[in-house]
């Protein structure tokens, strides 16, 4: 199966954006990846061996954290694994008086393609 390496981690995978592994589970695929490229391990896992909180792993279009068997989920050669660090932030500025409330809806339709 193919594992897609995000831009920040390619430096620790000999510059590759795709790494091919042969594995039967998600955890097996990640194990093979970090055996081949040991420098990746500290970027993906905590000292206790858990995926870092900001590292998302997607099996095809599914977040592995929400799969019933999580990292023990079986994989096939045709599957893909995407490693995607999270992205968030914001000004954290306090709201100025007189501004309209942002509400809880109406963003996604306008902002998405």
């Amino acid at each position: 199966m193919n594992i897609f390496i995000p831009t920040p981690l390619r430096a620790y995978a000999e510059g590759r954006d795709i790494v091919q592994v042969s594995a039967t589970t998600v955890s097996g695929a990640l194990d093979e990846l970090t055996r081949s490229f040991p420098d990746l391990r500290k970027h993906l896992f905590t000292g206790e061996g858990k995926l870092r909180a900001f590292v998302n792993v997607y099996l095809n279009d599914e977040d592995v954290r929400y799969l019933p068997e999580k990292e023990s989920t079986a994989v096939a050669a045709s599957d893909t694994l995407s490693i995607i660090p999270s992205i968030a932030g914001g000004s954290a500025a306090p709201r100025k008086r007189g501004k309209a409330s942002p509400g809880k809806s109406g963003l996604s339709t306008k902002e998405r393609h």
């Binding site: 897609f4 995000p6 831009t7 920040p8 430096a11 954006d17 500290k42 970027h43 870092r52 900001f54 590292v55 998302n56 997607y58 279009d61 977040d63 995407s82 995607i84 660090p85 999270s86 992205i87 968030a88 932030g89 914001g90 000004s91 954290a92 500025a93 306090p94 709201r95 100025k96 501004k99 309209a100 942002p102 509400g103 809880k104 809806s105 963003l107 996604s108 306008k110 902002e111 998405r112 393609h113």
Partner: protein
């Protein structure tokens, strides 16, 4: 100081995005090629801001949307080179929240101040360092290229 090279069409588009979503923060990804001496941004991808609970001062891109953006970029021969977002009625400087939530080492974080609905300053910051422990934001110059986007790689 490093320089982020960005096509005029992309630069204008990300600033316009901030105006469109005002008074909320906009967000999106910057797609480009590493030319050896830095990134050349050739396209951008708008993303939805999932922080609808506090969209005036927070943004977040759903990981599932990032997976799709990354896939489409790869199909065009491009990589995610950074991200952009807006600061409505707030300076175009990174905030402690921006820093805490920044994990794409080696990538650019572009911030546009939007003052009363109009795009003002746009600044870029390189997330430098090699780990979460030594990461830091470094100011980057922005070089806007008037040249049209180059065609995607086959």
């Amino acid at each position: 100081m490093s320089t982020l090279r960005i096509a005029r069409t992309v630069y204008d588009a990300l600033r316009a995005h901030g105006e469109e979503t005002y008074p909320h923060e906009c967000c999106g990804a910057l797609l480009g090629r590493n030319t050896g001496d830095g990134w050349r941004i050739e396209a951008s991808a708008r993303a939805g801001n999932t922080r609808t609970d506090s969209a005036h001062n927070r943004y977040q891109i759903a990981p599932a949307e990032l997976v799709k953006i990354e896939r489409e970029a790869r199909n065009r021969g491009l990589s995610i080179a950074g991200f952009y977002h807006s600061h409505p009625d707030h300076p175009a400087q990174w905030s402690p929240t921006d820093f805490a939530e920044a994990h794409w080492l080696g990538c650019s974080y572009v911030i546009t101040a939007v003052e009363r609905g109009r795009a003002a300053a746009t600044n870029s910051f390189l997330l430098a360092g090699t780990t979460e422990e030594d990461k830091r934001f470094e100011p980057q110059g922005i070089e806007v290229s008037e040249r049209a986007e180059s065609p995607a790689a086959p």
